[in-house]
Symmetry: C2
Subunit: 341 residues, 2 copies
């Protein structure tokens, strides 16, 4: 008998909720039989969307969560007050082991706070990093941490490097992934205080394939598989990636539309161009896992459409099947140093 | 009588030295009469390049500097040992007021160290920031600091914001420039410890037009004119800007060349496309000034060609004519707080 991965999905989170979220769930269970989705949200709203599609009834279940957390709400307060929100209900399902994973396109802050306070950290994991996949010239890289923990310490970054390696090797399938730390120069003596303290910890760590510093310039060229940085820098990298890609693509389109000759050229070139640029479309890689928790929490883009939701659900299946959390417990969790638990 | 701006130019620094550097100097003095360039470098090498061009003899002078600082040399040591290098000789000319400015495409580290130790800070300026211009969808922005001072403090960032405003208003010509601090969210309570401490200082400062936080995503969209950040983050932004732009343009070109139809399209569209992408070419904006020094030091890209050198020389003229350092002394230098002098 096939084992089923159970995913609690935040039907109310993100710019395109509930329509695209529900569609993503239907697509996932329709394509694969090893998935069950709990659509967590305002029951009548969710059911109205759901009735638009045919789907295997036994593999989508609607879980009522009448409250909604708004994007602008202060996360800690929202989670404390709105016990009947989709985010709190869904995360509690992971905590109670009723679901293997929780996926949300809702407020990043609320997902990060909820992951830590409701789902909770694996014993011995000091901080749970948010680790999105970013496209590069040669494939993809994992950027870790991207906004979960500001003002992190060197021992946190060491755990990020280890968890990132486990994820890239076992979920994404990159053997012996190259780990690098974001720095402002290639030499070991360069960097700010945090990087200088972290560098030797990474260098001495035998569990990872540490290749040294990486300058931001080399990230889009695919200079490493696991890009380690503290959350502020990671967030800047991620958001600049998004902003600059969309700006450049916009600028190029405007250039192509600027006169008749170039318009004709554009019409001819567009199919190839679209195909190429698709490799730089983050949505095909699913969401960003929040690693090191007792269960899996995945944050997808606020602008997620059905495809990204579906891919994020698939990602949960691999995560569970590959026993990522067991590997993290064995290889990363620090049994001797639990002062922050 | 016209006043002349005297620029000491590092003829030996950068990937394309001395040929492109010398050409840039010749182009500058040939186009404008208010410039004199001291070409600082190995005299025979420089003269050999120079004799290829006609130029007004009285406005280019070769200053012999037999030693060369290599890109990989540790900056502090290089400056201490190589007193006869183009960088040390040129910076000493600024210190002695024989030149108004020094321009180099050589080692960033050496330029930053030399600027501080040889040219020296304006009294009351705590740290001299490196402030490159970056292209945006709507024009250009100043990114300050971009690598000169890691682990900066809030009072340093406040001075960066003020100096950046002076530069954008008086050199670039943007009236009442919008100043923003790089942050990981738009709300005032977001950020790391440094940003949280700096935010109120910027908010209370009456000399600048502070518009709040800017997320990295908004930088390419032209969300602010002066982008304030500490050096590590600024360096990451600058280098990711360069890396991602070149990667995306490369990916797009490859896409256009992928089949016959798109090749024909590309041939038709290319002139317009080139024109558009030119706006995203950093070289037209000259080099990055190191602000707050007793004189002007400009660092241009290591890959600078003649055009960027010429533009950097023009930039020195504006800097001098607009009395930027007098304005910085008046408005930014802190007479009460000189503990770091």
């Amino acid at each position: 008998m096939q084992t089923i991965t159970k995913v609690a999905l935040d039907a109310m989170g993100g710019d395109n909720a509930p329509a695209e979220i529900v569609k993503g769930a239907v697509d996932a269970v329709s394509s694969r039989e090893d998935i069950k989705v709990f659509l967590v949200g305002q029951e009548d709203v969710v059911r109205e969307e759901l009735q638009k599609y045919p789907y295997p009834q036994e593999r989508i279940e609607v879980v009522d969560a009448p409250e909604v957390i708004e994007m602008a709400e202060p996360p800690v307060q929202a989670i404390r007050k709105k016990k009947q929100s989709s985010l709190v209900v869904g995360m509690n399902m992971v905590k109670q082991r009723e679901a293997d994973a929780f996926v949300s396109a809702g407020s990043s802050g609320a997902v990060l706070v909820g992951g830590q306070t409701i789902v909770g950290r694996i014993r011995g994991i000091k901080r749970p990093p948010l680790a999105p996949i970013i496209p590069t010239e040669t494939g993809i890289s994992l950027l870790i941490d991207c906004g979960a923990n500001v003002d992190a310490r060197p021992e946190h970054l060491l755990q990020f490097a280890k968890m990132g390696s486990v994820y890239m090797e076992n979920v994404v399938g990159i053997k012996n992934p190259r780990v690098a730390i974001v720095n402002i120069g290639a030499e070991e003596e360069k960097g700010n205080a945090l990087v200088k303290e972290t560098f030797p910890l990474l260098k001495e760590c035998e569990d990872i394939n540490f290749v040294g510093s990486i300058e931001a310039r080399e990230i889009p060229h695919g200079g490493a598989d696991v890009i380690v940085c503290e959350a502020f820098v990671g967030n800047v990298i991620l958001k600049l990636y998004e902003g600059l890609s969309s700006t450049l693509i916009g600028v190029i389109k405007a250039g192509l539309m600027s006169n008749l000759k170039s318009k004709i050229g554009a019409a001819l070139a567009l199919p190839s161009l679209k195909k190429t640029l698709k490799a730089f479309d983050a949505s095909q890689y699913g969401g960003a896992p929040l690693l090191g928790l007792n269960g899996l929490v995945v944050k997808t883009h606020g602008s997620s459409r059905a495809k990204e939701i579906t891919n994020s659900i698939y990602q949960c299946v691999t995560f569970r099947e590959e026993n990522i959390n067991e590997i993290i417990k064995e290889r990363v969790a620090d049994s001797k140093n639990n002062e922050e638990e």
